[in-house]
């Protein structure tokens, strides 16, 4: 290493992984239902897509974690987006492609993808 710029480059490369370990109550949490019903319906690729997208976009304030059965098994894979001071948004029948769009529209740009939410599907 010769310069501060190189030091900074290493920091940027690794800080997302370490940042996961710091308790931060302002984080946006994305929860993926990963009980048997979720896994059977294809929650694993959804989880992988979410994690990949978060990393690709360098979103430090977003955590992706698993949760158990959310209770609406007919709509699995289900994901929930929990942002501080905002109402929880539940997306249903999510696929890897939908997951990428949810990150793009909702997490990055703040527009809930209404057509994927439980409200519009259950109607």
């Amino acid at each position: 290493m010769k310069s501060l710029a190189e030091l900074k480059a290493i920091k940027e490369k690794t800080q997302a992984a370490v940042g996961m370990r710091q308790d931060n109550e302002d984080k946006i949490r994305i929860l993926v239902g990963m009980a048997t019903c979720g896994i059977a319906a294809g929650a694993r690729p959804v989880l992988a897509a979410l994690v990949e997208e978060v990393e690709k976009r360098n979103l430090h304030n977003v955590s992706v974690s698993q949760t158990g059965c959310i209770g609406v098994c007919q709509y699995e894979p289900v994901i929930e987006v929990v942002a501080p001071n905002e109402e929880k948004v539940t997306y249903v029948k999510v696929t890897a492609e939908k997951a990428v769009r949810i990150i793009n529209d909702h997490i990055v740009n703040g527009n809930v993808v209404t057509e994927y939410t439980i409200g519009s599907v259950a109607k």
């Binding site: 030091l7 992984a17 993926v32 990963m34 009980a35 978060v54 974690s65 949760t67 158990g68």
Partner: protein
């Protein structure tokens, strides 16, 4: 990228309760379920809550699993990591909440803590330099070398108010400025990691959990005083710390963060490790320097102080591990940030090693000025079995005992000295009503007698005599005038011993004499040990009304001192009794007492 990170404590505490095995098992289970590319397992340094080890923490959920056994690993992997269901029964009880988990910062153990020196312990993988860099590692060195002059570095440390964390409490910035002012062809930076106080293990934990912080700080000190060579003097009894330090040094050299022309500024600095053989006196600064030079570990006369004539006769800055661990944060966040924590004369935080009769045994870091009551009752979780607090011993063999009436004292360097104790390296041993204060004083004197290097007479002979008098008192052969003799000898040693070890060795005696004189008198006058510790002054009795004649005590007595017929009260033959206590342990009716 890994979606989940499992941190498993690899500090000495958790390692001794088998955390290495947990890591291997965890990795095998992850492979079995095909999760090894999704879940990252990391061996970290100490989390501080050693009483609940081995500790396993899973992120991003922040689930804090305590006292994890080999058999629990499969459940954690299958339930939590595969299916996302947190294993409630293994959670640290304070983090369990209705339908979620509470963050660690909301538990009574962590809520009042402020982690500066320990900030990376239990967070990063100490064997990977990249992880240290991710949390701003070596940014302080970069800032010092490229933006600050050596004088500005010293001024920052001075303004922060940081004082030596090894015990003396000497202002660190001032020490650096002395060494900087002395012109010499060669100067040295040394790190005192010869942690020897019984019960203190904060330096070990910093070295095990965040070794790069110490290397970075030493390089900063080298830049500030104009030294290009550093030595870390660490005891050989800390194999994990030594192992990780060696890894850290190799990685820092590889990255060019130690060695020649660091950050292309023309500044050279490198560090070597010296292993100590475990003599307590080698924690004394001049004895330590002798030992690094390969000489016998005996103190030198001061002055000249090390800042003038230290290692190999050259100006040397010697600081303790915890002191160094604060430095990078001070350079990065500024002196005002650090000075905003703590009390008027003691700034920042201090790490304490909680031990003895306390529920949450472990490492805690609190702002200076936190009261002893907060540390013992809130962070420490109080005393087990509802027993009463009797005293807290701070400063190890150099410190004293703090009685209950001083529990609300705000802990800092000067307040502790004013009540006859001292900060020392930060060992904090809690004693309850079952501890005999004379016996405690004897314990510490036994330690100093063993560890006295023998160079000066007051310490070599004086501590021996002190110990003999205490032996007499605890054996029931003491006389009232012994108490005056003790006191006079204590002051003599304090005034005449050569180094800090001897000068402070009488503190445990003096402080217990001051606050617990009635216990000494009970031993001497009534020939009784009120706490029931000193064997010679105890007798065991069976209360006839409570004894059901179950014969259990008679059967466990190793010397056949208990006799009696079935269903009749038994009696102990005091002439045969060796006071081992086996009968008390077994009696189900509380019929046996010692007094």
């Amino acid at each position: 990228m890994f979606r989940s990170t499992v941190l498993i404590c690899g500090g000495t505490g958790c390692t001794s309760s088998n955390s290495e095995k947990l890591i291997t098992l965890m990795q095998a289970e992850l492979v079995r379920l095909g999760l090894e590319k999704e879940v990252n397992v990391i061996k970290t340094g100490c989390f501080g809550l050693c009483a609940l080890g081995p500790i396993v923490v899973v992120y991003p959920e922040g689930a804090f699993y305590s006292m994890v056994k080999e058999d629990d690993i499969t459940e954690i992997v299958e339930e939590h990591l595969l299916k996302g269901r947190i294993v409630q029964r293994l959670l640290y009880s304070e983090t369990v909440a209705e339908d979620t988990i509470k963050s660690l910062n909301q538990t009574s153990f962590y809520a009042k803590q402020k982690r500066v020196a320990l900030r990376n312990c239990g967070v990063i993988d100490p064997e990977k330099i990249d992880e240290y860099i991710a949390v701003d590692g070596y940014a302080a060195l970069g800032k010092a070398l490229t933006e600050l002059t050596p004088q500005q570095v010293i001024d920052t440390v001075k303004a922060s108010g940081l004082r030596g964390r090894g015990g003396g409490g000497f202002p660190t910035g001032l020490k650096w400025s002395f060494a900087a002012a002395n012109q010499a062809d060669q100067k040295y930076v040394a790190c005192n990691a010869d942690e020897g106080d019984p019960g203190a293990f904060m330096d070990r934990s910093v070295l095990e959990g965040d070794p790069h912080a110490v290397l970075e700080a030493m390089a900063i000190a080298g830049y500030a005083i104009g030294a290009n060579k550093g030595y870390i003097y660490v005891r050989a009894e800390y194999p994990i710390a030594v192992y990780r330090l060696n890894i850290a040094i190799a990685q820092a050299r590889e990255y060019g963060l130690l060695g020649k022309n660091i950050f292309e500024t023309g500044f050279d600095f490198d560090v070597e490790i010296r292993l100590g053989a475990g003599a307590f006196v080698c924690g004394e600064e001049t004895a330590l320097l002798n030992s690094i030079e390969g000489k016998r570990g005996e103190p030198r006369n001061r002055p000249p102080f090390p800042a003038v004539k230290g290692l190999y006769g050259k100006p040397t800055v010697l600081n303790n591990v915890e002191t160094y661990a604060n430095i990078p944060q001070i350079i990065l966040n500024g002196a005002e940030w650090f000075a905003a924590m703590g009390t008027e004369k003691s700034k920042g935080t201090k790490v304490f090693a909680l031990g003895g009769k306390i529920n949450n045994t472990g490492l805690v870091e609190v702002p200076m000025g936190t009261t002893l009551r907060e540390i013992v009752e809130e962070i420490g979780g109080g005393i087990p079995d509802g027993k009463k607090f009797k005293a807290a011993q701070t400063g190890g063999p150099s410190g004293g005992c703090i009685p209950p009436e001083h529990m609300d004292i705000e802990i800092d360097y000067d307040n502790l000295i004013s009540i006859g104790s001292m900060m020392g390296s930060g060992g904090l041993i809690v004693m309850d009503e079952d501890s005999c204060m004379v016996d405690i004083a004897k314990f510490f004197l036994e330690f100093t007698v063993d560890e006295s290097c023998g160079k000066c007479t007051p310490c070599r002979v004086g501590t021996k005599r002190l110990h003999e008098i205490l032996e007499r008192i605890t054996a029931g052969q003491g006389e009232l005038e012994d108490l005056d003799k003790l006191e006079a000898l204590c002051y003599y040693i304090k005034e005449n011993a050569l180094c800090g070890l001897g000068q402070t060795a009488p503190n445990p005696v003096l402080s217990t004499l001051k606050y617990f004189r009635d216990e000494y008198e009970a031993h001497v006058v009534n020939k009784k040990c009120p706490a029931g510790v000193c064997k010679s002054l105890l007798s065991y009795f069976i209360i006839a009304e409570k004894c059901k004649g179950c014969t259990l005590c008679a059967r466990v007595c190793p010397v056949g001192a208990i006799s009696g017929t079935v269903k009749e009260p038994h009696v102990i033959d005091l002439n045969k009794c060796i006071k081992c206590g086996a009968c008390i342990e077994k009696c189900k009716f509380g019929a046996i007492i010692k007094k």
